[in-house]
Amino acid sequence: MNKIYPNAAAALDGVLHDGMLIAAGGFGLCGIPELLLAAIRDAGTKDLTFASNNAGVDDFGIGILLQTRQVKKMISSYVGENAEFMRQYLSGELELEFNPQGTLAERMRAGGCGIPGFYTKTGVGTVISEGKEVKSWGGQDYILEEGIFADLSIVKAWKADDTGNLIFRKTARNFNPPAAMCGKICVAEVEEIVPRGSLDPDNIHLPGIYVHRIVQGDHEKRIEQRTVRQKETA
């Protein structure tokens, strides 16, 4: 069992095909699989559908695949901060399926957990409920949402051991665990691969069973909105 690949291109070798559904981790530009996205751009795979909370910015994250017209459809909760996205969407080149953020996260987890459908009150009485089955419990309506079963998951973690056990850092965890769970194959990029046994078994955020391939590399980790406060002068 060797899960470690020398670079992102190698880690994606043989798992990409046109028209596939990819679940990607990340929130905004935080915790996104930036190396794997660049490798998908270089591979030129087309007509991709991405289940991803956001679509990156023009020149980073999924945005780089919008520039190359490799994305057919986005399943996202928020796609602001991306002019190219809006241009393609408004011109009809790009499909967009809005999911409430929690519904999207739960749909990914559900897919990974063998749950094809679940009920939620999120979106009841809004456009989100259109065409969806409704069921009542205790006088409250709930809509049926479906699990996402992706062809491929791409995620970004902080550290991995060689068995694929992953840990994340702070809010860079976000969608990465549910995205990792819902793919037939999951490729993870990490900042550091550590020796087996050096991660605390009680504190593995995502067990290696979910992770099929690992690649280590340098990450830009771009900050989208740098907000600071001033040190008070004594």
Binding site: F27, G28, L29, C30, G31, N53, S76, S77, Y78, V79, G80, M86, F98, P100, Q101, G102, T103, A105, E106, M108, R109, T120, K121, T122, G123, V124, G125, T126, V127, I128, W158, F168, R169, K170, T171, A172, R173, N174, F175, N176, P177, P178, H205, K221, R222, I223, E224, Q225, R226, T227, V228, R229, Q230, K231
Partner: protein, 213 residues
Amino acid sequence: MMASEIKGWGRNQMAARAAQELSDGMYVNLGIGIPTLVANYVGDKDITLQSENGMLGMGPFPFEGEEDPDLINAGKQTITELNRTSYFDSATSFGMIRGGKIAAAVLGAMEVSEKGDLANWMIPGKLVKGMGGAMDLVAGVGRVIVVMDHTNKHGESKVLKECSLPLTGKAVVDLIITNLGVLEVGHKGLHILECADGVTPDDIRAATEATIV
């Protein structure tokens, strides 16, 4: 006197009024804009802020040079952690939201109806960015508190009989705090709970399209 001429509360006063709704021990989610300012007015109440991208116990902005790209809030701003902080994934985060574990959310709005319907994510024909976590929040949290200007820039009421914009949630709003005062969503319409400084109940009625009972 025209409703549009009434000033009432400013942004910080509205935020301070919203903070009064929060009590010790509450876990709270604050939206972007005026709601963010609420954190400045909780005083010594023990409030834990949730950031729906996967964090409980959100701290203030970092000092210059201490920004961490792995530590942002739901508005994608760099923030800091506290000694009570915990991190978790997005499915868990929205599990606690959907499951009613968050006591209150303070959110901005474009429109609110007298039935508590909320519209704050989409203007048809304009750039649509998405609902993010707003639909989950209004559906799931214990109490939804809206903070917004009472009227739009054309002086038209944002507190309506029916929302004209696509909804974020149906019958979800509990309390509306505007520059003119505080309105509670009741079974038969809105109740004026409080008027802003220099504002009378009649001023609020004049500036409101919705039924006030």
